[in-house]
């Protein structure tokens, strides 16, 4: 096992790392079809959407100055961050550019640690509580335990259950929170990061518009919520980030990931074809040998 040969799977690993390194160093832009759920995501932020599960319908008019947006960092974001980083970053930049009021909540200690380390410093510096936007355009509730039950309780009041933010400030002392408490009416838009179960609590009863972001392969379990109309748009993986960069015109670095995906996809297709042809030819010659 110590010497590498062609039947050794280690050459596969080597090839993949080679492709990733090259893609990281020299990304190239590619033509990219924009999936409908990504387009819907952008359109909801840009133009708004009507949600009509309950009477009367809610007409959300897009993200404008002062629009109250709750970002729920839920599910397994800590595991998926490397596949969601660019999409979350570009959407966050867009929300900031539109002067939205952003309230952030994390459902687990690991999700909190991930955003604290990788996202929040990028947007608000190493001490976000000292950023000029803090309290007026951005509030971080941090990790609040309670899961689905907590979201049920927040429908009526955040402050009653969670009186302080992640940095120990009382919510009533933060100007942004003055009209952001009773989620069923006060929240104009929810953006879920791998968040599930929101449809039953908010969408079907209060017509809250929900947008969803996840990893590339999260689509397999999130797609049914999109087709059922609960999610008004989805951004999946780094490709979602690239799509949003194209739609919003906000620059990012998603195309390095696309080049990597393109190269790996192409190599895998070629390998599958070549290896199968090779196997077929060998099989043919083996059976010919048996006959002779």
């Amino acid at each position: 096992m110590s010497r590498i040969n062609l039947s050794d799977s280690r050459w596969i690993y080597l090839m993949i790392f080679g492709i990733i390194t090259i893609s990281s160093v020299a990304p190239i832009a590619f033509p990219l079809p924009i999936m409908q759920w990504s387009r819907d995501f952008y359109n909801t932020i840009e133009e708004g959407v009507v949600v009509d599960f309950a009477d009367p319908p809610r007409n959300f008019e897009g993200v404008k100055e002062g629009t109250r947006v709750l970002i729920l960092c839920s599910g397994e974001v800590d595991k998926l961050w490397g596949d969601m980083s660019e999409a979350v970053t570009v959407v966050w930049k867009d929300l900031m550019a539109r002067d939205a009021h952003i309230l952030l909540y994390q459902s687990s200690a690991n999700n909190k640690a991930t955003l604290d380390k990788y996202l929040i410093p990028l947007m608000y510096g190493p001490n976000p509580q000292n950023h000029p936007d803090y309290g007026t355009k951005f509030v971080n509730l941090g990790f609040v335990p309670g899961g689905t039950g907590l979201l049920e309780q927040w429908r009526d009041s955040i402050r009653e259950i969670t009186p302080i933010d992640a940095y120990g400030n009382r919510l009533e002392d933060l100007p942004m929170m003055s009209n952001f408490d009773e989620l069923k009416v006060d929240c104009d838009l929810m953006v879920g990061l791998d968040a599930r179960g929101l449809d039953a609590i908010y969408v079907v009863r209060y017509n809250t518009p929900i947008l969803e972001m996840g990893g590339t392969d999260s689509a397999s379990y999130l797609a049914s919520s999109y087709t059922a109309g609960y999610f008004k748009g989805m951004l999946m993986g780094q490709r979602g980030g690239a799509e949003y960069e194209l739609l919003s015109g906000i620059p990012g670095k998603s195309f390095a990931y696309l080049q990597n995906a393109l190269t790996i996809g192409t190599v895998m297709i070629i390998l599958m074809i070549v290896l199968n042809v090779n196997w077929y030819l060998k099989k043919g010659s083996a059976s010919a040998g048996e006959v002779s």
Binding site: E76, G149, Y221
Partner: protein
């Protein structure tokens, strides 16, 4: 205090009533075989032939306390996997093979210790039980990282992996098992993990089949009759989609 979601209450109660009725009236109905039941015991024998340990990994299987249906799945795997662990331990005790388990759930870790110790006792060799072989891991990452290391170090002979592994990470263990040529019996709780099992496993069972393992490990006809009752519920759901959907489309409903 008010009663809410009565439609769901009705569905829940009628499902259980239907299954209870089935348990009495569908005794003796023939079921298809579940490959993992026999294969799991065979895995112990394969490991014995190789003179290597057998790994029994249940991942996320165990207690969770938040209100969503996904948690019910990890809980539902508890009785079946514990019964399987006991049956495998009995065989491992008889053949004097090291059986190593891996879980990331504290309550399950304690329960599996109890079941496996009983399995060894039933084999007639209680002295062969070693509590250090029941390994608890604090999280999924530690479970995967440590088991991969153990598989390479001890050249594990066979593995039975019936449980949940986050984000399809079960395939990282499968790849380690493939590198040492170990037999793999797999049955994952979640569908995306199950896709990875379909790619790599020698024997594969689907989630619901794993919950039913207990029914296959006993001669009692009642648990099997309850499984037969499940088919009635499935048939009803199919009818709802096809006939209910048609009536909806035609505007009758």
């Amino acid at each position: 205090m008010a009663l809410v979601r009565t439609d769901i209450l009705l569905v829940m109660v009628s499902s259980i009533v239907l299954l209870l009725v089935s348990s009495q009236f569908l005794k003796g109905v023939k079921l298809r075989m579940i490959p993992t039941v026999e294969a799991s015991i065979e895995a112990v024998r394969v490991a014995t032939e190789k003179g290597a340990p057998v790994l029994f990994d249940t991942g996320w299987t165990g207690t969770r306390f938040s209100g969503n249906a996904v948690n019910l799945t990890t809980l539902s795997f508890v009785p079946a996997t514990l019964e399987l662990a006991k049956a495998m331990a009995q065989e491992a005790g008889r053949l004097d093979t090291k059986m190593v388990t891996g879980t990331r759930n504290p309550v399950y870790a304690l329960m599996s210790r109890d079941f496996i110790e009983t399995g060894y006792a039933l084999s007639g060799h209680p002295d062969r039980f070693d509590p250090d072989n029941i390994i608890f891991y604090p999280n999924n990452t530690a479970l995967i990282a440590s088991e991969v290391e153990m598989i390479h170090r001890d050249k594990v002979g066979a593995a039975v992996m019936i449980g949940g592994h986050s984000q399809s990470s079960n395939i990282v263990i499968y790849e380690a098992l493939a590198s040492v040529g170990a037999m793999l019996v797999a049955g994952e709780i979640w569908p995306n993990d199950n896709s990875m099992a379909a790619l790599c496993a020698d024997y594969l069972s689907f989630a619901e089949e794993n919950i039913a393992i207990g029914a296959y490990l006993t001669d009692d006809p009642v648990p099997k009759a309850i499984l037969a009752g499940e088919d009635i519920i499935k048939g009803f759901l199919i009818a709802v989609v096809l006939f209910g959907g048609l009536l909806w489309g035609l505007g009758v409903l």
